[in-house]
């Protein structure tokens, strides 16, 4: 038996690296970097309200976020790549949210989970920030109240797509700022089309 890259596995076991037919893969460094960024996108634990419960459920046994290398919810924002704003952001919380975002290392991404974080949702009143995109740049908006674990995973996979394709990083170079990306979900498509609105 021969494997495409490694050659004969038995030879590898017996002889170590000497037994490998081709021990290198060619490709662009950029692609490798993007691939690894997408595949180890660690979220920060930033649970605010109802959505946080669904976010935890996504990390639980049934939905198993670990499949995407993402089960390590980091308590410290400095170790996290992705902020999932899970829930409604109050006027009192807003400055703290921004501070935590500033503490995260580049490259960093933000998913706005649920309608409250995306637009204020049903709480159109004095206490709630009408859309977290007024405070931090949002990369992906996940609809729902609260979004089920499937929707959150869909949002995460969409983000992975965008990281791998480099779309987000390119746009950051252009504007010098964070993302402002609206994801339109289309019928009958699992992957989503992306419209950049400036």
């Amino acid at each position: 038996m021969k494997l495409p890259l490694l050659g004969d596995p038995k030879a590898v076991i017996d002889q170590g690296l000497e037994g490998v037919d081709h021990n290198f893969v060619t490709g662009k460094l950029e692609d490798l970097v993007k691939w690894s960024r997408a595949r180890s996108c660690w979220p920060a634990t930033f649970g605010l309200a109802c959505c946080a419960i669904e976010m935890m459920a996504t990390g639980g046994a049934h939905y198993d976020l670990a499949r995407y290398g993402m089960e390590v919810f980091r308590a410290s924002p400095r170790q996290a790549d992705l902020m999932i704003v899970a829930g409604r952001v109050s006027q009192k919380m807003a400055p703290i949210l921004r501070r935590i975002y500033d503490q995260m290392m580049e490259p960093k991404w933000v998913i706005s989970m649920g309608v409250c974080a995306s637009s204020g949702g049903m709480f159109n009143n004095y206490a709630i920030v009408q859309g977290v995109d007024q405070i931090v740049p949002v990369d992906v908006y996940a609809p729902g109240c609260p979004p089920g674990p499937e929707t959150l995973m869909h949002a995460i996979l969409t983000l992975h797509d965008k990281i791998t394709s480099g779309e987000i990083t390119r746009r950051r170079d252009e504007t010098g700022a964070g993302a402002n990306l609206t994801v339109d979900q289309r019928d009958g498509q699992t992957s989503t089309g992306v419209v950049i609105r400036k």
Binding site: T45, C50, M56, G60, G87, S90, K92, M122
Partner: protein, 423 residues
């Protein structure tokens, strides 16, 4: 009744445990908090993995010992009570259900009971029993959430996986019945939103057959485990007099050995027709609170089994044209029914003027709804008495003199849901 609120000991402990300095008052903090060189004021939260959302604590520390502390809340203040004044009575449950998001059906129930009291409505028996069924299912899922997060907070991370596994089972059943995993908006003034779906009996039976064995697994994993007991026993002790003085209800009050449960002592719905025990603790520590919640799941399973046998047939909502929209099929054939349906959902129904307080026993304690109507279609004032909000006041008392690591176990054992605290 051995407890008088002004018990000297309670007051002394209160004064020495609570840090009553405004969080932005730096000068006073510097001058008063920290009586010696070794003490300092530390901030914990609001973004902290074990503060259950956005609770923030100011801790006055002496080395690693917590002296005084103060819970700082409001980071999830949503203005729900203000929003409630703009929503009709039919829209109200959508609003309150987002308060206590771990046990949303209880808020809906309190809201509906208050509205029905103002309307003078009698709910049909089947609706009452469906409400009980939903509440007990919700109590199970809420307590399972506690088991998961409690385990995670104090380092038994595998417990989180097990807790979620069981909770998914309960959520699947809730989804089958209400259509949503959370924030159901299922219990509404006048009854419930829909009748139980076909095959609900089998699904409930499957759940209550499977759960006891899983709970025994929890026992093996946690209850008898020396590390876990060491971490919780004797930590965060509080006594009955302190609990009553602070207005505490629910598992925290019961953990002190004081049996008070609204379901038994001031029955609502049909709780006087089912048989169950009120679980109490002995020492009032974190371990008792854990054990009470675990055993309350077992009691809920008992209640569910009885509900399965006693569920009456009949209407799932009142046949009162004033509050109940006409059945879907009638809308297709009758213009009057269509207009009626449209008016109920756009204008809402008018509720007689008055004020009322209705309370239920939620998994966290007494959840009350105070409602004032001025005779229009929206409440003039709607206030929810959240048990977590009042229960949070015990934190400084329980934490005083303990290690900062115990603080995490104590917060977890209070099981606060910040949505209900800040509203």
């Amino acid at each position: 009744m051995n407890s008088i609120a002004t018990d000297e000991a309670v007051r002394r402990r209160d004064d020495s445990a609570v840090l009553r300095i405004a969080e932005d008052d730096g000068e006073r903090l510097e001058a008063e908090a920290g009586t010696s060189d070794t003490s300092m004021v530390m901030n914990m939260g609001p973004q902290h993995p074990s503060t259950h959302g956005v609770l923030r604590l100011m801790l006055e520390m002496e080395g690693e010992t917590v002296m005084r502390s103060k819970p700082v809340i409001g980071y999830l203040h949503t203005g729900m009570e203000k929003t409630a004044e703009t929503l009709t009575y039919l829209q109200g449950p959508t609003n309150v259900t987002r308060m206590d998001y771990a046990s949303p059906l209880f808020s809906e129930l309190a809201f509906s009971m208050a509205t029905e009291a103002l309307l003078g409505l009698e709910v049909p028996p089947r609706a009452t029993w469906i409400r009980m069924l939903m509440c007990e299912l919700n109590r199970i899922s809420s307590h399972l959430l506690f088991q998961a997060t409690n385990g995670m907070d104090i380092g038994a991370v595998s417990m989180m996986i097990y807790g979620w596994r069981e909770r998914e089972e309960a959520l699947r059943l809730l989804e089958t019945i209400t259509g949503l995993r959370m924030n159901h908006n299922f219990i509404r003034p006048g009854g419930v939103a829909a009748d139980l779906p076909d095959g609900w009996r089998d699904e409930v039976l499957t759940l209550i057959d499977a759960l006891p064995a899983r709970l025994n697994e929890f026992d093996t994993l946690l209850t008898g485990q020396p590390i876990y007991r060491e971490r919780l026993q004797g930590v965060g002790v509080i006594n009955t007099a302190e609990c009553l003085a602070l207005g505490v209800t629910g598992p925290i009050l019961r953990s002190t050995g004081y049996a008070w449960d609204l379901r038994r002592d001031m029955p609502y719905l049909a709780y006087d027709q089912v048989d169950f025990d009120v679980v109490v603790g002995t020492y009032g520590d974190c371990f008792d609170r854990y054990a009470i919640r675990l055993n309350e799941i077992r009691e809920s399973i008992r209640i569910l089994a009885q509900i399965l046998h006693q569920m009456p047939s009949g209407d799932y909502r009142v046949q009162d044209k004033k509050v109940t929209p006409p059945p879907r099929a009638r809308i297709d054939e009758s213009m009057e029914a269509l207009i009626h349906h449209f008016k109920i959902f756009t204008e809402g129904f008018k509720v007689p003027a008055g004020e009322v307080y209705a309370a239920v026993e939620s998994p966290r304690g007494e959840l009350g709804c105070y409602m004032v109507s001025d005779g229009s279609a929206v409440p003039y004032r709607m206030h929810i008495r959240g048990p977590s909000f009042v229960n949070l006041q015990t934190l400084p008392h329980m934490m005083q003199g303990g290690m900062v690591a115990d603080a995490v176990a104590i917060i977890s054992s209070v099981d606060p849901i910040m949505g209900e605290v800040d509203r």
